[in-house]
């Protein structure tokens, strides 16, 4: 069984991370009735004897759960969010060495986050990462959670990404990036996002982009459903993917609902690595199957079902509906419509009581409606995990490597261009030690060439590509 370490950077990263730990505990407590520290738990938690000194190697394997510590490193350049965590119900999960904080924040400035704090805290961060890695028997993956629009998550987060590649080149790096919406209130968010994009394209193994606007839309959809008052529309308690009910924390805070969605995404991705199933899908298999060319590693996530209706039996049609929904644009976590763009590859991670025949039937059914690139006509990676998420009898996570990310990137480029043309706010960046004009031009050209690669693939979309000529054998 492998372990993963979560690195949460910046305000958004830490808030999402916090929801992740809460929901992870909830999920494991549902399954693990006997309080034994089992393999599944060990993938994200250590079992520590809290009476012994903190920071020593006092991990206990097997046996009863004593005190769980999250395999995490929390980084933030201002103290507000991390302090809240330390005073909240999850405080037992983290010991003080796992937290790296400063006081004044990055002022929404990528350069400050990346260069200033990056070099100031480099050693400390590497230390903590090494320590977290040493506590793992077999470290498989680093999950980095951050946002793109700000200063810390975006700048320091991508600096941490580079560190992860240097120090742990063989460990997979999966990054969950929250992209700003067009109406973002941070003026310099396009600069921050584009500068961060370059790092993601170069140094991450996979990126799961998430847009705030999509999360808001999903949240509204659920609220609308639960308030519509139609008979048979009562949502089962704790089943909505925005719900944190049953978790450790008490009252829900404003962004909690949206952050729960992202937390559920992470739980579903790791479910097959943690629990058993008839067709396992490990984390390293995700990168292997979904990334045909090294830079095109942006995977659009979609989660279904969004909720379970209470008091309703689940006929097969509902199962099929779950598969159909996974490809509808309402369920994608970025504003994109994959059905009308080109699929390079797609992964379906099914949880719960679903058999391989249901899976095959739905793939057969949906295949004709989905445009796949010519050399990957059956580009499906499938996984079956027997343990469903809390509140559902089954669920589906779809990860699509699809050219529908292109419009999102193009919009980002446009917003960047608007500011860059006027050189607006650039002096804030160029004043920072280590930052140069060149960083901007490199970043935008990296983004442009990424967009170009997607465009070239798109161009093949409706053309009938002939099969490559086979080798001829002399007879």
């Amino acid at each position: 069984m492998t372990q993963s370490v979560v690195v949460q950077v910046g305000q958004c990263g830490n808030q999402v991370g916090c929801r992740f730990w809460d929901l992870a505990l909830r999920e494991h407590s549902h399954v693990n009735k006997k309080g034994i520290y089992d393999e599944a738990l060990s993938s994200f938690f250590r079992n520590v004897d809290s009476r012994r000194s903190v920071g020593g190697s006092c991990d206990i394997t097997g046996g009863r759960i004593q005190s769980l510590k999250a395999r995490a490193v929390l980084v933030d350049m201002e103290e507000g969010v991390v302090n809240e965590i330390l005073q909240g119900p999850l405080r037992e999960l983290f010991d003080s060495t796992q937290l790296i904080t400063d006081v004044s924040g990055s002022g929404n400035n990528w350069a400050v986050g990346h260069w200033t704090y990056g070099s100031a805290y480099r050693e400390q961060i590497v230390d903590q990462l090494r320590r977290a890695a040493e506590h793992c028997d077999c470290l498989q993956c680093f999950f980095l959670i951050h946002s793109m629009g700000g200063g810390t998550g975006s700048g320091l987060g991508t600096c941490v990404l580079k560190l992860l590649e240097e120090e742990f080149p063989e460990v997979c790096r999966i990054v969950t990036s929250v992209y700003p919406s067009a109406e973002d209130d941070v003026i310099t968010s396009p600069y921050n996002s584009v500068l961060a994009m370059r790092e993601l394209t170069e140094h991450a193994d996979c990126v799961l982009p998430v847009e705030n606007q999509s999360l808001v839309d999903i949240m509204n959809k659920i609220k609308h459903m639960s308030h519509s008052g139609k008979p048979g529309s009562v949502i089962k308690k704790d089943s909505a993917i925005i719900s944190g009910q049953g978790g450790v924390s008490g009252a829900e805070k404003p962004f909690d609902a949206m952050n729960n969605i992202v937390a559920n995404l992470l739980l579903n991705i790791t479910s097959s690595a943690r629990f058993e199933g008839s067709l396992n899908m490990d984390l390293n298999e995700i990168a292997m199957n979904l990334v045909p060319f090294p830079r095109l590693h942006y995977l659009v996530p979609s989660l279904t079902p969004l909720y379970t209706l209470a008091d309703v039996n689940i006929p097969t049609r509902r199962l099929d509906q779950m598969f159909t929904d996974a490809f509808s644009k309402d369920h994608q976590l970025i504003r994109a419509d994959p059905k009308h763009s080109l699929y390079l590859a797609c992964a379906l991670m099914v949880r719960g009581n679903v058999q391989v025949s249901d899976l095959r039937r739905n793939i057969e059914r949906l295949k004709p409606t989905l445009p796949f690139v010519s050399w990957n006509q059956e580009g499906w990676k499938t996984g079956l995990c027997s343990v469903p998420p809390v509140g559902h009898s089954h669920s589906l996570l779809a990860l699509a490597n699809n050219t529908c990310v292109k419009p999102t990137f193009m919009e980002l480029r446009d917003r960047f261009a608007k500011l860059y043309r006027k050189k607006a706010h650039m002096h804030h960046y160029l004043h920072v030690d280590g930052m140069e004009q060149g960083c901007f031009t490199e970043a935008i050209s990296s983004l442009s060439s990424l967009i170009e690669e997607y465009s070239q693939l798109d161009a093949t979309k409706d053309r009938l590509m002939p099969d490559a000529a086979r080798l001829n054998i002399a007879t």
């Binding site: 396992n280 298999e285 199957n289 090294p294 079956l384 054998i473």
Partner: protein, 446 residues
């Protein structure tokens, strides 16, 4: 004589466990003591306190599946796996053949060969080694190929049979075609015979013959195990003089693999019905054999949906006429066939239809091409069953499709960076493609 099985990767371990379950049930079921003892000796080791321990080694790069298989076996109460006969690591091969073959294989070579050696030493006499794996993933395919290579070096005079499970055509793993091409091209040099089951085919059997509504991998694996068991359980051959054949793998190979260019074997089995229908079914040998023969000729994998229009040519075409008239559409030419009959009144069965020279390629005399085993002991609750192990063009189309899709993907160099980073270069890919095109060409010209 005994067979040592090596179960590799998730598929190999899951199917392997079902296989031993079928064998153990079949051996226990029967009143025939000699059959039962022969089967037990072949596949199990009897310990001091009368426990049956499977002659099997379980290998995987991550521990979940092996633990499950060992637990399921122990639960059966009738047999179990050896306590030290497994090896696993913490992290899988990530569906990457190169990772399995170049990294995990060599890293764990010593330990794995050691465990196999200990299992081999527990046998009085080794009949052969059967390696069970899938071709789509990373461990079964990559590590499996490397382990086969090691075993070939360690036991140069033993027979090695590779049992392969081919994935669903519509994909379980996106890079499955690359992994399959790399595996098959390497195994072709290392293995003595390659026995193939395709998930698509077995799935259809489950759906149409056995009427299973929600087919799980467990159902698929049970069918594969049943077919494999029906081939390897004891039987009487022409040469065995009234005793059960000592060396099924060796005889399989000498009967079916007469030329190193032709190693792909397929199995079909009749009847195959759901257990609930079994009580109401009456089978006669003439009916079973007629269907089986047509299944062979028309390339049907099961007894429903057979195309009865396809007929063998009326005479054996010679020379130029053969090249010109080409193969009749839909007609499956065989290189060699092995017919196994199990059950009641087996000696009354008329098998002349399978000795018809027009079924076979002309460059092999028909009496060399056909062999038969039989036993009056019924297999796995079927009063009568007929099994055909065939070296024919059956697998040609699936193989061609697999190579075609892999080639298309290779033409755009998609995913290649994932393989080159572990040490498999583009030249290695080209070599593999070339070998398989050669195999395809050979089979096409049968």
């Amino acid at each position: 004589m005994s067979i040592v099985t090596v179960q590799l990767g998730q598929c190999g371990n899951q199917v392997g466990q079902e296989f031993f379950e079928v064998i153990s049930n079949d051996a226990n079921d029967t009143q025939r003591k000699v059959y039962s003892e022969c089967s037990s000796e072949r596949f199990f080791n009897e310990t001091a306190n009368r426990n049956l321990v499977a002659r099997s080694v379980l290998i995987d790069m991550e521990p979940k599946v092996i633990s499950q298989s060992i637990a399921k076996a122990a639960k059966s109460g009738k047999w179990r796996y050896g306590d030290l006969s497994h090896f696993s690591q913490k992290q899988g091969s990530g569906n990457n053949w190169a990772n399995g073959y170049c990294v995990h294989g060599p890293r764990h070579e010593e330990v794995v060969v050691d465990i196999v050696r200990r299992e081999v030493e527990r046998c009085d006499r080794l009949a052969g080694i059967m390696a069970m794996m899938s071709v789509a993933g990373g461990t079964g395919s990559g590590v499996g190929t490397y382990v086969t290579q090691c075993l070939r070096d360690a036991y140069p005079n033993s027979f090695i049979l590779n049992h392969l499970t081919w994935p669903y055509g519509t994909g379980e793993v996106i890079v499955q075609n690359y992994n399959s091409v790399l595996t098959l091209s390497h195994l072709y040099q290392l293995s003595d015979a390659i026995l193939v089951h395709e998930n698509d085919t077995v799935h259809k059997i489950c759906a149409q013959l056995m009427n299973i509504k929600h087919i799980s991998f467990s159902d698929v694996n049970k069918v594969i195990a049943h077919q494999l068991g029906s081939v390897l359980q004891p039987a009487l051959t022409g040469d065995s003089h009234g005793l059960y054949n000592r060396n099924p793998i060796g005889e399989l190979m000498s009967g079916l693999v007469c030329h190193p260019e032709y190693k792909l074997l397929s199995v079909c089995n009749i009847p195959q019905v759901s257990s609930s229908s079994m009580a109401y079914s009456m089978f006669t040998w003439p009916a079973l054999l007629k269907h089986l023969r047509q299944m062979l000729i028309a390339n049907a994998k099961m007894e429903e949906g057979i195309d009865w229009q396809v007929r063998a040519p009326s005479h054996q075409p010679e020379g130029i006429e053969r090249a010109r008239s080409h193969r009749r559409p839909g007609f499956n030419t065989s290189l060699a066939n092995l017919l196994i009959l199990r059950g009641k009144d087996v000696n009354s069965a008329e098998i002349g239809g399978f000795q018809d020279p027009t079924l076979y390629t002309p460059w092999l005399p028909a009496d060399e091409a056909f062999s038969m085993w039989k036993t009056p002991v019924p297999f796995n609750k079927y009063e009568k069953s007929a099994i055909l192990v065939s070296n024919s063009q059956t697998l040609l189309r699936p193989l061609d499709n697999m190579v075609g899709k892999a080639w298309n993907m290779f033409a755009s160099r998609a995913y290649i960076h994932q393989y080159t980073k572990f040490g498999i270069s583009e030249e290695d890919f080209l070599d593999s493609f070339t070998s398989l095109e050669q195999v395809i060409s050979s089979y096409s010209q049968l």
